[in-house]
């Protein structure tokens, strides 16, 4: 709990790091109606695809400098020699980023969804999907950034982007399920299953990767 508070405080002070991705998400969602004919039907056709991709890009930006500063100033080395397992510290760091970036983006997804579709129940179902998918994407990009720690975030994003694509496919299918009113819960369970594996496996792998960087 103490570490979580500390990480939250650290991230809150780095305004650019948490506000930047939220603003990018906001801008994408605002820019979307400008690129299509301003008719309700036309807006709804591509809205959700743009929404998922906006979440993906925002999470990519969110994870951009998650370890860079700590790696450069030696904090990661100090964290590693602490008695608590390093993978837990990685989990807490990821959770902090998700709380300050992923959660607001998910709430914005709900608002934009309601604003576009004017369908409250559909928009309400988008909220858990956004929350889960943003956490999955964030974990994947954290992995990418850990791999390319001192090589720039573009390489990290490129190598982990393929892993995020199956999640996008599931998101697309779950939306179809919502619209056709069929078996939506199974998609949520599938995403939750993926998340539970990712939440455990990725911090563990990331901790080994950072150890390899510091060796």
């Amino acid at each position: 709990m103490k570490i979580l508070k500390l990480e939250l405080l650290k991230l809150r002070k780095k305004t650019r790091s948490w506000l930047g991705p939220i603003l990018v998400f906001w801008l994408i969602m605002i820019a979307y109606p400008l690129t299509v004919e301003f008719l309700q039907e036309k807006l709804e056709i591509g809205f959700f695809s743009v929404l998922w991709i906006a979440i993906l890009i925002s999470m990519m930006l969110a994870a951009e400098d998650i370890f860079t500063e700590d790696f450069n100033d030696g904090t990661l080395e100090q964290m590693m020699i602490k008695s608590s397992p390093f993978s837990i510290l990685v989990s807490i760091k990821t959770l902090t980023y998700w709380m300050l970036i992923g959660v607001p983006i998910s709430v914005l997804s709900f608002i934009f969804s309601f604003g576009t579709t004017e369908n409250f129940s559909l928009s309400l179902m988008i909220l858990p999907l956004s929350l889960i998918s943003s956490y999955i994407f964030l974990n994947l990009f954290v992995l990418g950034n850990a791999l390319s720690l001192n090589k720039g975030s573009v390489l990290g994003a490129l190598i982990t982007m393929p892993l995020a694509l199956p999640v996008l496919i599931v998101l697309g299918k779950s939306l179809t399920a919502i619209q056709l009113d069929i078996n939506f819960i199974s998609f949520i369970l599938l995403l939750l299953g993926c998340l539970s594996i990712i939440m455990v496996a990725i911090p563990l792998v990331v901790s080994y990767i950072i150890k390899a960087h510091l060796e």
Partner: protein, 243 residues
């Protein structure tokens, strides 16, 4: 005895000499099998009732698809071996396999596209099998670029191995994509549990082409891994004697 054999074979020196010893046999046997199977498939099997002669691309597409996934699985096993038992040769194999895996995946995608034009009326469809295979291809490219971005080989090997293991999650997705999603791509014709849905007249040359192609790709992996050993162990005295 098996443990002794593995330890002996895991030495790059022993591996290199064993490769030199067996490479030619594997290459010529595989080449004969592949050429024989291809000729059998292209010239002597009857036309498909629905697809006509276009089905014959199966003798390239299926072996390439099968190998694109098998090579990734082999990379994942080699990565685990490297991370758990610190076997250097396993790390050499991982990076040796990556470009060949990318090549076979590319062949699978291109041959699938060519086959798609007469069969589906389109060369590309964003269905689960095709998209997941494209993801595999991008994964291979990502692995190669990650490894090339580090000048420290040991660090590059470790990071690459971790990414390969995480990326292995894509393999069951590709394999089961035709069952999990309603796809344009047909489901598997040959499975371990069920009777093949393909006629035996077409099945035998297909199995032959898979075995032959597999052997030829193994030869490429052997050559590529040999190159890796020569690069990485260049300062060892036995390499100087070998060269």
């Amino acid at each position: 005895m098996i443990k002794k054999f593995i330890h002996q074979f895991a030495s790059p020196k022993t591996y290199l000499f064993q490769v030199d010893r067996f490479y030619h046999y594997i290459f010529y046997i595989s080449l004969i099998i592949y050429v024989f199977s291809i000729c059998w498939g292209l010239l002597f099997t009857p036309e498909d009732f629905v697809q006509g002669n276009s089905f014959r691309i199966i003798y390239l597409h299926v072996p390439a698809s099968f190998l694109s996934q098998s090579l990734y699985a082999a990379m994942a096993i080699a990565s685990a071996t490297y991370l758990i038992w610190r076997v250097k040769l396993a790390a050499y194999l991982v990076i040796a396999i990556a470009p060949i895996g990318a090549m076979t995946t590319f062949i699978a995608l291109v041959s699938g596209s060519i086959w798609g034009i007469p069969t589906w009326g389109t060369w590309w469809q964003w269905d689960a099998r095709i998209t997941s295979t494209l993801i595999l291809f991008i994964m291979y490219l990502g692995l190669i670029s990650l490894h090339n971005s580090f000048s420290n080989f040991e660090k590059a090997d470790k990071l690459l191995s971790w990414l390969v293991i995480v990326g292995a999650v894509n393999i069951p997705i590709i394999k089961k994509s035709v069952d999990w999603w309603s796809t344009l791509h047909q489901s598997a014709s040959i499975t371990l549990t069920d009777k093949p849905s393909i006629d035996v007249v077409m099945l035998y040359p297909l199995i032959g082409s898979i075995i032959g192609f597999f052997g030829l790709v193994i030869c490429l992996v052997l050559l590529s891994s040999k190159n890796q050993i020569l690069i990485r162990e260049k300062n060892k005295s036995w390499i100087k004697d070998y060269v």
